[in-house]
Homo-oligomer: 370 residues x 2
DNA sequence: GACTAGTCCTACAACGTTGTAGAAGAGACT
DNA sequence: AGTCTCTTCTACAACGTTGTAGGACTAGTC
């Protein structure tokens, strides 16, 4: 049972370099620099065909235990790793999905990315993250980028594209849209219950006795988009409660950062507008408002109640802790990844675009006396 | 000038499926499901060899302008995109680097990832992010994962592996280590000036009059690691100022979250330990401390000054705003990516492991009286 | 008008894997 | 013994790209 006389069948097409230089004891310290082990080498060592190695790796059932062991040992010994490029080429699939979002430094997107990665892991795929930097042109670029061929599909969360750009969503790879910039496109769309969530946030403030509820973060003239939808929910709640809307209480903030939230609040205070609550259209804005109110020695929740939207982690640790709407990030991520993987694995199934709004909940914390 | 009679040279090995089914008028509405355009089809349309298409795409200089135009038009017409798997297989390079970190939901890592992606973009490569969830076993897994063949190299930021695990860093692909868990490994290492930064933070508190400076976030028994190094810097600063160290002021916190920072502070207050400053070993801890001090109506910076470490974005928007040490995240990211790309593109250059500490700065904000 | 030196293009053979087809042998049933 | 089925394995040909080698021109040189 020596190695030498084995009938090495499939060896002729293996790399010739594999033959040891005859009897010249080569310095074993010279580690071979970068020659990755291939199936051929494993096959030669285990004295099976390269296809059998492939079969072992892919869990093909009809393999004699002895053979399987021999192959597995050879894999161990040589430290073999499958070459993903070759496998992907052959299988026509990359095992990678793309996630395009504005910026990881924005907490909501970092947390979303986190959930997406966890969801992707359940499907055994990796995630390639791409930044758009919230630049319109880069959002278009991402859709047509060469990198698309590195991924089997894309989760796309635009922040600048608008309803008119719906045409750009017609692409020849699986695409799932996130967010609320575009509706009714030709693709699966997973989003949060913006209108209902905002209505609930506002209703929560009303329940706690607020009557002059300021909104921070509106976007003048917007029709869809988080700002418009959430403002809509706010107006619905006021209406339901029979509270008149006061335009002075609706404050613009282009970017939804703490700084802009603080600034909008500052202006409102400077304008002398009376209010007993602030609805920040996202948590960053609300935290900014909180910050400014504290600066001005306005008691929260005593004089002014504050609520946000998104339930980012910070909201639980601010001073005071921030009430907010939890939009179901995990459900969004899971649904989106499930949809995408479904499209990827059964492209022949030509079902129409699906639309899902995740379930939200009101998280009552100190900032609303909660 | 029809297409039909063109002498289609290189076509015999093109996909046979391309031939239309004989005269059966197939419903034109049935969009061809998923047959990506290949170079073969572009070549056939432009009536050149497939290699010429490749040459055009890769900017090979000796191509007649007319030919080039014809090829480019065909690419346009067919919407051709190169297949990354095939290219990578052939080139032996993926154009993707891995970034393994504990969790994106931790602000420091989200911001680091952001900077890494920007740095990667300058090199024209994509970033595949992997979570370790701060689990020791997963940190080992990441180093040996199958996914390594999807990437040309790895930026690795462990949080649980320790000095003893240095052996695991001997891998056969380019690897750059981040963080301060392991030193003196066989790989390039980029980190921040933990000791010096912590010393500066402590000195800053001393300058502002603090004498009983509590530390929140220590890790008992740790020798390397951010906790140990930063504690070390703290002790050095005390020593330089001739202030005796009081063990009661050094408070443990395993995880560096706001909640644990708040809790450690709470315990310290409950214990009745007197202190006039808190050095949170990271910003999250410091923000937690800030939160707890506020709950207990302790004035910051009046009664107690607080400083953190990392300069996460939140630090600038807390109430009061948090002084901190800015560790040079951008420099870290850029240096790490530069090192990695250098290793990837010139693997034959066997230079020894390099070690870089980024430059830090003290950011004085309200929490230390600004 | 033969040589050399480009220029522009093509054919072929890889890269490392997996799907398809099928061969060889063992066992089970006529 | 002959047929059938199942198990276990192998050979071959792809997947779509690019490096190598070289062929067919054109233009310049002596």
């Amino acid at each position: 049972m020596t190695d030498a006389d084995a009938p090495r069948s499939d060896v002729h097409d293996g790399p010739e370099a594999d033959e040891a230089p005859p009897a010249s004891a080569h310095a074993p310290l010279t580690r071979r620099p970068r020659a990755a082990v291939t199936m051929h080498e494993v096959a030669a060592r285990a004295r099976v065909s390269i296809k059998t190695v492939s079969n072992v790796i892919n869990g093909y059932p009809h393999i004699r235990p002895a053979t399987k062991e021999r192959v597995e040992k050879a894999i161990q010994d040589l430290g073999y790793k499958v070459n993903a490029s070759a496998r992907n080429l052959r299988r026509g699939r990359a095992g990678v999905i793309g996630l395009a979002l504005p910026e990881l430094a924005l907490p909501y997107f970092a947390e979303l990315a986190d959930e997406v990665m966890k969801a992707a892991e359940r499907h055994g795929v990796s995630v390639l993250i791409e930044h758009t930097g919230a630049q319109r042109s880069r959002e278009f670029d991402v859709l047509r980028s060469d990198r698309r061929s590195l991924t089997d599909g894309l989760l796309f969360s635009p922040l600048e594209m608008a309803q008119d750009d719906v045409g750009a969503l017609t692409v020849d790879y699986p695409l799932v849209l996130l967010g609320e910039r575009i509706f009714g496109g030709p693709v699966d769309h997973v989003t949060m219950a913006n209108v209902e969530g905002a209505r609930a946030a506002t209703a929560h403030l009303i329940e706690r006795g607020a009557r002059r509820i300021a909104v921070v973060g509106s976007h003048e003239g917007e029709v869809v988009g988080s700002a418009a939808l959430r403002l809509n929910g706010y107006l619905q709640a006021l209406n339901e409660a029979g509270i008149p809307m006061d335009p002075e209480l609706i404050r613009e903030a282009g970017l939804w950062h703490r700084s802009t939230g603080a600034e909008a609040t500052r202006r409102m205070l400077d304008d002398g507008v009376a209010f007993d609550a602030v609805f920040g259209l996202n948590d960053a804005l609300a935290l900014g408002a909180l910050h400014e109110l504290h600066q001005r020695h306005v008691d929260v929740p005593g004089q002014v109640k504050v609520i946000g939207f998104d339930d980012i982690e910070d909201a639980a640790y601010s001073t005071p802790t921030l009430s907010t709407i939890s939009p179901g990030k995990q459900q969004i991520a899971r649904t989106a990844v499930d949809f995408l993987m479904e499209r990827i694995s059964t492209p022949e199934l030509l079902l129409g675009p699906r639309y899902v709004e995740a379930e939200f909940s009101v998280v009552a914390r100190e900032s609303t006396g909660g």
